[in-house]
């Protein structure tokens, strides 16, 4: 590919622009930490996420008076190590984020490109569907979908993917429509390229920048919504160490064990923050027009 030759200099330029934004660099740092933690969960975690230590129900974190070094962030109501659960939770959250974004990105982009290329009735139909979905608050629609499909992590992911589809459809359709009017597309078409080839090989690569930014920010939406579903008892089911589910299970202990509440939510916040900061930085660096 000829693009690889030009890559280093473009990458350097991109990095220079990106690194100007301290928030974005902080977000990237957080992301790297999360990814490393998730990848090395088996090495880093002191215990398995579901092992119950019957002598250590609701042990406080290590810096409290009754803390125990075996459980640095304390244990939950059935004696599971908080830190280990959080570490495995990172793996789950990233996996959820990645799967949801991948599904939504692939289906959404395909639908968006189809709408742009087909035009007419197909376009109207797809875009009207998008309008309809957008009328429902996304969390509400996800809740309804899970309520119907039945609670569980897979269904929750599916629901979140469905409710985030409109963003990808609109974005890819809009950028494709802009590209379709350019001369290079006309030239490729005149050269006899098939519609499929035109869609995915000619036009799509030139629409990628906004889609990448949207997908990065989509990670945080996906993780946040999946955690909210978990919190409502509609997502991952106990004893899965999903952060939102952990919060739901700890609700009744709010008066005597703050740590079972504080840490999972803080982990969600940091993860979502990391992707939001990184996504904002990416947008500014990829699209200088938006930067002021």
């Amino acid at each position: 590919m000829s693009a690889t030759v030009a890559m280093p200099s473009r990458l350097t330029l991109f990095w220079r622009s990106f690194a100007e934004n301290r928030g974005a660099v902080f977000g990237l740092g957080l992301m790297v930490v999360l990814i490393v933690v998730a990848a090395l969960a088996d090495v880093l975690a002191l215990h398995t996420p579901i092992e119950q230590f019957r002598d250590n129900f609701l042990t406080p974190p290590v810096w409290a008076a009754e803390g125990d070094w075996h459980f640095p962030l304390g244990t939950d109501d059935v004696g599971r190590d908080m830190l280990s659960r959080l570490i495995y939770g990172a793996r789950l959250s990233l996996m959820i984020g990645f799967s949801v974004v991948a599904v939504a990105l692939i289906i959404g982009t395909t639908l968006g490109l189809t709408a742009a290329f087909a035009g007419g009735v197909v376009d109207v139909f797809i875009m009207r569907m998008v309008d309809v979905i957008l009328v429902f608050p996304s969390l509400l629609l996800a809740i309804v979908v899970v309520a119907i499909l039945g609670p569980g992590m897979f269904n929750a992911m599916l629901a979140v993917a469905v409710v985030t589809l409109p963003g990808y459809i609109r974005l890819s359709r809009a950028s494709a429509l802009v590209e379709l009017n350019r001369d290079y597309v006309t030239a490729t078409r005149a050269a006899g390229a098939s519609t499929l080839r035109l869609m995915f090989d000619t036009v799509l690569p030139n629409c990628m920048a906004p889609l990448i930014v949207h997908a990065t920010l989509g990670f945080s939406t996906a993780i946040l919504d999946a955690a909210a579903l978990g919190f409502l008892g509609l997502g991952a089911q106990p004893p899965t160490p999903e952060w939102g589910t952990m919060l739901a299970g700890a609700l009744q202990y709010y008066q005597r064990a703050w740590w079972v509440l504080a840490f999972p939510g803080f982990a969600i916040l940091m993860t979502v923050l990391a992707f939001n900061l990184f996504g904002d930085g990416l947008r500014d660096a990829l699209d200088p027009k938006l930067k002021r």
């Binding site: 009207r128 309804v144 919060l247």
Partner: protein, 325 residues
């Protein structure tokens, strides 16, 4: 947005979703306990689930247009009447949250724009991206931990303390307690409102501050701001009358578009604070497998969002003389 096709689409979606339930809603509700087949058939007939699908949809559409959203499988009350008793609680909360976000977020955004590049600006932008990333179900719990459990300042749940009885003639607790002339009840209502308002208002607050800042930065660079200053107007007048007035045009759109997200957030907030509103009701309907309530409640919320979007479009044309004829 074309209202009629959107409305039909919305009803079709809510109809389809409910019919994706394995079996039918009656079967799902009786679950594994099972009941006598004759009783099941009678119930099916009563709720119309024995009709062909297209007939069910047409009937449903006709009913919805006539304001009939069905009957709760649990309470046998109409969905509409249940919604009406609970909706004021949700509106009250949503209204307070939007007010909180607007009254704090917009001034903060303006000040950040005026002091761009200062530590205040950076601090506020950092806080706003954090606020926008907030899992509000956890944020609410942390607020309860600190302010209710830690300091004992605010109550944990509900709209008013059990000690008081307030005649619910409007359904809006703030209005009802005002007219009840009961100072204690008013105080109790306010203290119950504070935490849910802050929790539900956090994400909009962060978004409004960010949006206001960038809109203000754009407007402050415009030629007409220089003209206003060349008239010898005070900095305050230039900022508010000339800059903010223009910056509000995009900000109002964002405020309108945040209503949907706010109603989604209300589901979480109402669950945390046991707030007897529509969000709480919908979550309960899922636990009770009360599908008509789930379907009707969702549809009503969608209709509200359509209405709000229409209102925003109209407000936009009022605010922006350039698109007014």
């Amino acid at each position: 947005m074309l209202i009629v096709p959107t409305f039909i689409g919305v009803t079709l979606l809510s109809f389809t979703l409910i019919h994706l339930v394995p079996g039918d809603p009656i079967e799902a509700r009786v679950g594994e306990r099972g009941i006598a087949p004759e009783r099941l058939a009678a119930l099916r007939h009563e709720f119309g689930y024995d009709q062909p699908l297209w007939k069910q949809f047409v009937d449903y559409e006709v009913q919805v247009v006539h304001g009939d959203l069905g009957v709760s499988l649990v309470t046998r009350q109409t969905v509409w009447s249940e919604f009406l008793t609970l909706f004021p609680a949700t509106i009250e909360l949503a209204f307070c949250a939007i007010g909180f976000a607007v009254l704090i977020g917009i001034p903060l955004g303006v000040v950040a724009a005026l002091r761009r590049g200062t530590p205040f600006d950076y601090g506020l932008m950092g806080a706003s991206v954090t606020g926008a990333s907030m899992p509000i179900f956890w944020w609410g719990l942390m607020m309860i931990l600190v302010f209710s459990v830690g300091f004992g300042w605010t109550p944990v749940s509900g709209r008013v303390s059990d000690m008081y009885f307030v005649e619910p003639w409007s359904g809006f607790m703030l209005i009802d307690c005002w007219f009840s002339d009961d100072e204690g009840a008013c105080r109790s209502t306010l203290s119950h409102l504070i935490l849910p308002t802050i929790v539900l208002g956090t994400i909009p607050l962060a978004n409004f501050a960010r949006m206001t800042r960038s809109a203000m930065l754009e407007v402050l660079g415009e030629d007409y701001i220089r003209t206003a200053r060349a008239k010898g107007l005070s900095g305050m007048r230039v900022t508010v009358v000339h800059a903010l007035r223009n910056a509000l045009i995009p900000v109002v759109t964002v405020i309108g578009l945040s209503v949907g997200g706010l109603l989604g957030g209300a589901i979480l907030t109402e669950t945390i604070f046991a707030w007897p509103g529509v969000g709480h009701w919908i979550i309960e309907s899922i636990q009770r497998r009360d599908y008509p309530v789930l379907q009707g409640g969702t549809l009503l919320i969608a209709i509200i969002v359509i209405g709000v979007n229409l209102g925003v479009d109209m407000l936009y044309s009022v605010l922006n003389p350039r698109i007014r004829r």
